[in-house]
Symmetry: D2
Subunit: 188 residues, 4 copies
């Protein structure tokens, strides 16, 4: 019915020293907030999706990889709800910010004449992924994260990026990325 | 595309003394918040819907009135998103709180054996409606209101109630009632 | 330092299969949201405060009871942050809504010429309190509750009211009532 | 009394076709949300503060510049409310993320043995500042921005950075930075 619609256990009420006035009282809870675990799950899912696009590209070719990337963008980002604040790692110049879904899709799978700089970040043979949050900030149905993301490709090469995300929980309980700022570490 | 997705006018940017770095910058705004005007509009719409159900009952009978009431509940309340905190004016006893849509529908149009106390509040020949907020409290995508609501029926009889509402703005920009507490004025 | 500022346990990170990239990473969490337990605690605290004001009146007189009531209003309501949407059980007419702290204080302890209808609701010898939520709705740092509240005075007389609350969590983590609608049950 | 505590004009009510039931009704509004203008103002203020620290350093020396920087961090960032997600432009390695105020202060004014890589970003003779938002995302009392920030120093040298901010409005109506990710443009 909805994301967190549950009956409060009677034992919990008894712990609070409450005597229910009516046995028919339904004791319903609606909770629209993001939990910390949901944020961690969404971060994990992002990496798994990236690896899956890479694998799909290797095994089934570009068309299937692009199809999957579009699905991921539709499900895991907030483009269908409006602009997304997306600064991909390797985007630059006047196309630094990919606020529309076409620009995001091009960044991940390339082959879009409108974005000649894109070679397809998700096609680079990614095999492993991990993230390490420096901090997480939760405010209602939005959560902010900042930290390192490490990617390893099929040749064992590591790529480390500094990454910020903002996730917005939608009405179906799905966390969607509404801000994504990724940058290569500063080289002093 | 979404509820408040608009391009910021260039004049507004100039007023801020900003020189856009790129002519292609899109300057998009997503705003999930409720505005005061949206709250007033939703309050107005509630009364108009009540009167329309009354008129439909008089002109087309109970089945049509019930159908309309169901539509109003689906569109203007949050039952499809979860429990609604609804204490109707004339509900009492173990059926005081109508957290499920069936109980709300019965309150407005009656004729439900599960709710024998309900005679159909929306069927009482309502002709006029006005509200007077004592205060409005806006917090993100939720707004709280409290005040008097005055209803006048087709015989000119006035009914004044003390009413609190909480509205939640959904992803389509529709305000939905998630709390509705209505009570007859205390008689000292 | 703040309300929910804690280090995530290393075991939790290991459960998530994460290898921290840096042993110095601080893994901080800020969470501004209301939890269901905080709501239940605030509801419990409201009843305890009411009983304490009653006891203080009996044992130490009106001045001390008024002093305590003012403290409770300052700590547990949102008057210092702005208007509160308060419809007390026994308030009526043009003074139905007590959006300012003076009106709320008068309702609880009376003796204010500006509010001649008030006899002091908190002075009525309350001894016991319980609440039974029909539903709870949590949205960010605001939570809505609706249900029955039962009060028993020192003569064993029970008073049952229909009550809605909206709590807002402040920056110190204190839940404050920003909406309070209380009404006697409808008598069919 | 509070940040947006105002009486709704009677003309506004008349426009809505409402007849106030009581001339004494107070018609109060509390609004905790961030407005788009407040976001633009906070972005403008950030740049002005940076320039002021630079000027103070030139005119009054390091001690005064550090004192001012500490004031700016206390007023314009959320460190006193908890961890801040801060990735400064020129920070790297294990000190990439400055979630504590000491690390932020060192980044801006240097001279902290704990942060040997910091030379004091705010001391670099900044004279001009402008920002160009690619998009703004507003959700309750939090707003996200992403775009270019351009800084010009006293020798006319331009620095362009990709910057994301999250602002949280506090109870006094002050916007505080709770996420700040700044990075040099990717060099293809």
């Amino acid at each position: 019915m909805q994301r967190t619609h549950k009956r409060i256990s009677i034992s919990a009420l008894l712990l609070c020293g409450l005597l229910p006035l009516s046995a028919q009282a339904s004791n319903l809870l609606v909770n629209n907030n993001i939990s910390h675990q949901e944020v961690l799950d969404a971060q994990q899912a992002w990496g798994e999706a990236l690896i899956k696009i890479s694998q799909t590209y290797e095994q089934k070719g570009h068309a299937e990889a692009k199809k999957l990337a579009k699905q991921v963008l539709d499900q895991a980002y907030g483009y269908q709800q409006g602009a997304v604040l997306f600064k991909p790692t390797l985007a630059s110049g006047e196309q630094t910010f990919r606020t529309e879904v076409d620009g995001a899709l091009s960044y991940f799978v390339g082959s879009d004449k409108q974005y000649p700089q894109d070679s397809g970040f998700a096609l680079k043979g990614w095999k492993e992924y991990s993230f390490d949050n420096a901090a997480v900030y939760i405010n209602g149905d939005v959560a902010l994260t900042m930290g390192h993301v490490k990617l390893i490709d099929n040749k064992g090469k590591q790529t480390l990026v500094d990454k910020s995300w903002a996730f917005k929980k939608d009405e179906q309980g799905q966390l969607r990325i509404v801000l994504h700022h990724s940058s290569l570490p500063f080289q002093p």
